[in-house]
């Protein structure tokens, strides 16, 4: 079902483009500042966190460029939350389409992922500007960032497929996912540096693909002092997050493929 050839067909590309464009056009409908909000929103959010965590709590003492370090974690996490949540409700939310027309169902999920991806890119641009202003040195490891973004995208996409199909049958999924996201937020070193937690727990935390992505991103982008997936204490733990993502992709493809013929009648 989800063959690259199909996704890239002219017809499907047109559908995808129009759906993403519609999402984007409709999102800030009726607001005075319009599209500017997609940049302003994360900026304001970051300003608050900066004041709380850098000025008052001072959690990042000893870490170079901690504001950038903090911001990168927040941006990646924001994408993950936005992508999975919007993907989850995408099939049900687009019920009008699903019930009337036989477009490939995965396009609906993909379009919500791409909408989130556009926001991620806008946020990354801010992050880069911010990094340059904070004199973060240009490093060769920046080139690895696209790989991490792809990994994050694949993780969110596979979860998005599973959640969207589950949500059609069980609306409880949204509440459960909300709780899991809350837990995940604290299980991932976003607001705190990994070094702040006891050493023996660090390696277990790094099994979480999101923790791995966030830490590796910081290693590549901000400072090589960061604990990353290949300098974590237990070596074979390095491949664990990747393994989780591969399993998720397989499960997601199978489950979504099995469920999608019944979306129209179950919505």
């Amino acid at each position: 079902m989800i063959k690259f050839k199909n996704i890239a067909s002219v017809k499907n590309r047109s559908i995808l483009r129009e759906m993403v464009a519609t999402d984007f056009r409709v999102r800030y409908q009726g607001s005075v500042l319009g599209y500017a909000w997609s940049v302003l929103r994360p900026l304001f959010l970051f300003a608050i966190l900066y004041v709380v965590f850098v000025k008052f709590l001072k959690v990042g003492n000893g870490i170079p460029h901690f504001p950038v370090y903090l911001l990168s974690g927040i941006i990646l996490w924001t994408f993950f939350v936005e992508a999975t949540s919007s993907a989850m409700s995408s099939i049900v939310g687009r019920g009008d389409l699903i019930k009337k027309i036989n477009i490939p169902r995965y396009l609906v999920v993909l379009s919500s992922l791409f909408s989130a991806l556009i926001n991620l890119f806008l946020n990354l641009i801010i992050l880069f500007i911010f990094a340059i202003l904070s004199h973060v040195p240009l490093q060769g490891s920046w080139l690895l960032i696209p790989l991490l973004i792809i990994e994050l995208f694949m993780l969110s996409l596979s979860l998005g497929f599973i959640l969207s199909a589950l949500f059609v049958k069980y609306r409880d999924a949204s509440y459960i996912w909300e709780v899991l996201l809350q837990g995940g937020f604290y299980a991932t070193p976003i607001l705190y540096p990994l070094a702040r937690i006891p050493f023996k727990f660090q390696k277990y935390l790094m099994l979480n693909p999101l923790a791995q992505i966030v830490q590796d991103f910081r290693w590549c982008f901000v400072t090589h002092q960061t604990t990353n997936s290949w300098n974590v204490s237990v070596k074979y733990f390095t491949i664990f997050p990747i393994l989780i993502i591969i399993i998720l992709i397989i499960v997601a493809t199978k489950y979504f493929k099995a469920q999608s013929p019944y979306f129209a009648e179950n919505i």
Partner: protein, 407 residues
């Protein structure tokens, strides 16, 4: 023999009756039942039951049936929106569903953006839409409104825009679900013209409708579905006839709620068509009806022969007083005929009824005579149906009004 472009093979569709999302809680509670006793599953509803048929290339194929008969489910299975529970559907070609006009229309977007969105969903590439954009706008007659948001459009404007996009579809098969039910008369005319053009182009069309006139005008073949079962397949006029017969006693027009009066003087035995086969006749053909009655007593009566519309409403009638007054039949069975002249009834489906009243010349004008007996849909009796096939191009409505204009 032309090839089959659509093949429907023993399709059955079962829906779970409990619609909407199930709660996980119920799943857990359900487990308990599995352990105690295997419950008989009666929570399902069979929407389609073992349906098989095929559509040939270039055919205009009708699907008729009452509300809830399963015809829309069938169309959705053809469109690939639903998948059959059993059986299979084979489609040899590209397909555009017109299950609803304006799929994906977003009220917050401009007319222009909606054209691109809707077009993409119907399978056009961006380039194709750019090429035909001007034609679409022109056909919809919305040149000055394309930058307006769709929510500021009237519903008629929205339909026009949606239709203009939809008719550009270049696919081999079109699925049309009662598109004709929307829009005003002028718009419906436009739809019909487009259908005629599509038919000429040799495209395959599957058309779901209640409108027996449209079925007979456009379709090459049709099927009728009732309660999920295929009742009949064949020529449109035969299917239309079956449909009308099946529906003449249907509940949705509240027929048969009255009971015939009982009297010992006279009984109407029947009313039948003479000549016209199966009740089909041409606009320019006379039709003769034969009324059979039995008189038990020699009394003065009058008969009123009347024409009912398809929904059972009274259209017009012709009383014996106009020709013979009073009518005093001898005791016994009598056959009377009444000829309705040609060039009066326009294209459509009608029922013929007859009523017998007492005749009393001394009655005041506003006093009603006593109803002796009646054959009428509303009294639950079988009455003949006539289908007038041709139409005079210049008239509309049920019958041809004879009048004259002067300048």
């Amino acid at each position: 023999m032309q090839e089959n472009i659509i093949e429907v093979n023993k399709v059955t569709k079962v829906f779970a009756k409990q619609s909407g999302a199930k709660k996980i809680k119920e799943k857990f509670l359900g487990l308990e039942k599995v352990f105690t006793k295997k419950q008989k599953n009666n929570n399902s509803f069979v929407a389609l039951d073992n349906i098989s048929f095929s559509v040939k290339k270039g055919e205009f194929f009708g699907i008729v049936g009452r509300n809830g008969s399963g015809k829309s489910t069938l169309l959705k299975i053809l469109a690939g929106v639903y998948s059959p529970s059993k059986g299979s559907v084979t489609i040899n070609g590209s397909l555009t569903p017109f299950i609803e006009l304006g799929v994906g229309f977003n009220p917050e977007l401009s007319g222009r953006n909606n054209v691109f969105l809707n077009g993409a969903l119907l399978g056009f590439t961006r380039k194709q839409i750019i090429e035909m954009y001007d034609e679409i706008v022109e056909f919809a007659e919305l040149e000055n409104f394309m930058e307006e948001k769709l929510k500021n459009y009237s519903s008629g404007m929205q339909v026009r825009l949606a239709f203009s996009v939809a008719i550009r579809a270049k696919s081999d098969i079109l699925l049309i679900d009662e598109v004709l039910a929307v829009g005003d008369a002028a718009f419906q005319r436009k739809c019909f013209d487009v259908f005629k053009k599509i038919k000429k182009e040799g495209k395959t069309v599957v058309f779901v409708t209640h409108d027996m006139g449209a079925v007979q005008e456009f379709c090459d073949r049709a099927i009728m579905i009732d309660s999920g079962k295929l009742v009949t397949i064949g020529k449109p006029r035969e299917v239309a006839l079956k449909y009308e017969v099946a529906n003449s006693g249907s509940q949705d027009i509240e027929l048969g709620k009255n009971s015939r009066p009982i009297n010992s003087d006279l009984a109407l035995k029947g009313v039948a068509l003479k000549g016209a086969k199966n009740g089909f006749l041409k606009y320019n053909e006379d039709v003769t009806l034969e009324v059979t009655l039995e008189a038990f007593k020699k009394i003065s009566i009058q008969l009123n022969l009347f024409i009912l519309k398809r929904d059972g409403t009274y259209l017009t009638g012709y009383n014996t007083i106009k020709d013979v007054a009073p009518l005093v039949p001898d005791i016994g069975i009598h056959k009377l005929t009444c000829r309705i002249e040609k060039n009066q009834l326009n294209k459509g489906v009608y029922f013929i009824g007859v009523a017998a009243y007492t005749y009393d010349a001394s009655l005041a004008k506003d006093e009603a005579p006593v109803l002796l007996d009646i054959l009428d849909l509303a009294y639950g009796t079988k009455v003949p149906m006539i289908t007038v096939e041709d139409n005079s191009k210049t008239s509309n409505g049920e019958f041809n009004l004879k009048a004259e204009w002067k300048l």
